[in-house]
């Protein structure tokens, strides 16, 4: 924090202006690329699931439907904005904004490749948890402020689901924190590069399993998409939203998926690095920029999201709670004890 004061009060104004300019440029680049990724994540999801179900997916707009996300965006932008009677207007307006902002703010601490991060803070991982818990407010408020029973039930379901799985997700990453000895995401990636296997997913396979499951529940995705179960709740917490406010929820959800994929890539799959034994065997791979490896990992995780959605049916609500509290949390706690013991013994 005092670093900010030093930066702002520095006598050399030119470098200060340049610093601020660089930060703004970084924010613009990250936001632009992330939102483009979000738009095309929806396209790929429809394409991938379409082919898995022996359909074609979007095909009409542009080459192989490639302009579909843009057409959807334009459509949503010009749709009528409907607000239900007796809705709590200020909170109804606020809810999608909170949801979207909490997802976009998380982008600021993610290192996309070596030394490219908007804010390289020491508590990066905790910051991500804090922002993901803020996102829950958007969902609960949307459910309550809409003055609709479907929305309200969806909001309540989502709130309890997110709280339950947040614990499991936090605990699953404690193993990674212990292995890396840091909460800074860049430090975690560097620690993985130093580690013999090059990825924490191998020694931390239990933590990785818990993280993946909790990540699906945190982002309200199948098989845990009960908050927006369309067969019983129409669309859950955003039933009453239309036009651009609906688009904000939609974008926020896909941004949250991208962020979860990035956390998986950074904390378990080695981020922008690849294991040393691979680069030793094939040295020419060192010339590939780090962002390529990072994106490959993120895309694979996103593909996994789609794959699971096309494959698994939805869980019942009591099953969801039982998995969270009776399976994932004990597993994550066991993983922490195991990691700690092995670290003390010097095995890991």
């Amino acid at each position: 924090m005092s670093g900010i004061f030093e930066a702002i009060t520095a006598t050399d104004n030119l470098t200060l202006l340049m610093k601020i300019g660089i930060i703004f440029l970084k924010i613009a680049v990250v936001l632009g690329i992330a939102l483009l990724h979000v738009a095309y994540a929806t396209y790929w999801e429809r394409k991938v699931i379409g082919h898995m179900q022996v359909r074609l997916g979007p095909i009409e707009v542009g080459w192989h439907g490639f302009l579909q996300p843009i057409a959807d965006g334009v459509k949503l932008f010009f749709k009528e904005d409907i607000i239900p009677a007796n809705a709590d207007k200020p909170l109804f307006y606020l809810a999608p904004v909170i949801f979207m902002v909490s997802a976009l703010t998380s982008l600021s601490v993610l290192p996309f490749f070596d030394r490219f991060v908007i804010a390289d803070i020491n508590i990066g991982l905790l910051f991500l948890f804090a922002m993901s818990s803020l996102g829950a407010y958007g969902i609960i408020l949307a459910g309550w402020a809409s003055n609709s029973k479907y929305s309200f039930l969806g909001g309540l379901r989502s709130a309890s689901q997110v709280i339950s799985y947040e614990i499991a997700m936090g605990l699953s990453l404690v193993g990674v924190m212990m292995m890396a000895g840091s909460l800074n995401l860049s430090e975690i990636v560097r620690a993985q590069h130093q580690y013999p296997t090059g990825m924490f997913a191998i020694p931390q396979f239990l933590g990785f399993f818990v993280f993946i499951t909790a990540a699906f529940a945190e982002t309200n995705r199948l098989p845990f998409d009960l908050p927006e179960a369309e067969s019983e709740l129409v669309a859950g917490y955003f039933t009453e939203y239309s036009g651009f406010r609906f688009a904000l929820f939609f974008l926020g959800e896909y941004t949250a998926m991208l962020i979860m994929s990035s956390i998986a890539a950074l904390c378990f799959l080695g981020g922008w690095t690849i294991p040393k034994f691979i680069t030793d065997a094939a040295p020419f791979l060192l010339n590939v920029p780090g962002i390529v490896w990072f994106l490959i990992k993120v895309y694979s995780f996103m593909f996994f999201y789609y794959w699971v959605r096309a494959t698994l049916p939805r869980y019942r609500y009591d099953q969801l709670m039982a998995i969270g509290w009776k399976v994932l949390i004990p597993l994550a706690l066991f993983n922490i004890v195991l990691t700690g013991t092995l670290r003390i013994m010097g095995v890991l």
Binding site: M1, F5, I123, F129, S133, Y137, I140, W144, G155
Partner: protein, 170 residues
Amino acid sequence: MLPELFFGYYASAIVIFSLLVVTRSNPVHSIMWMLLLFFHIAGLYLFLNAEFIAAIQVIVYAGAILVLFLFVVLLLNLREELKVKKFIGSWPAGLFIAAALLVIILSVVKSFVPGPAGKYSIEFIKQETHTKALGTLLYTDYLFPFEIASLVLLVAIIGAIVLAKRKKGN
């Protein structure tokens, strides 16, 4: 100058948000102001270079406790609550007690002296990172109080389970 400005903003914002929390007639709105209040308190912690405490403040208070508040409030019947003009009739007495407390606090502010600078200076924290410094201290010098605190929390958890669990046959 800048630190004073920052502190002044956070301090006045915290006071204003606290007032808004207790004066809103809609409990959900109160909770939203409280959320903003918690974020400002986290800002104050950041201001003190206590980044770990700031993050935990947001995760635990805003992310868990306040969501549970919201849960309880959402299950209330708000239509009746909103019609109540004043929740308490004896607000002049409360105002008097609050004013008296303010006078007492203001009168002792003069005798406030900053504590002696110890080992944990800002430079030390910056080098060690706040999380590491706090963790080391908590698990060595203050291990016993830390364990007592966790035991107290465990008792509360078990108590809650005992109260909430249905007896068989009922």
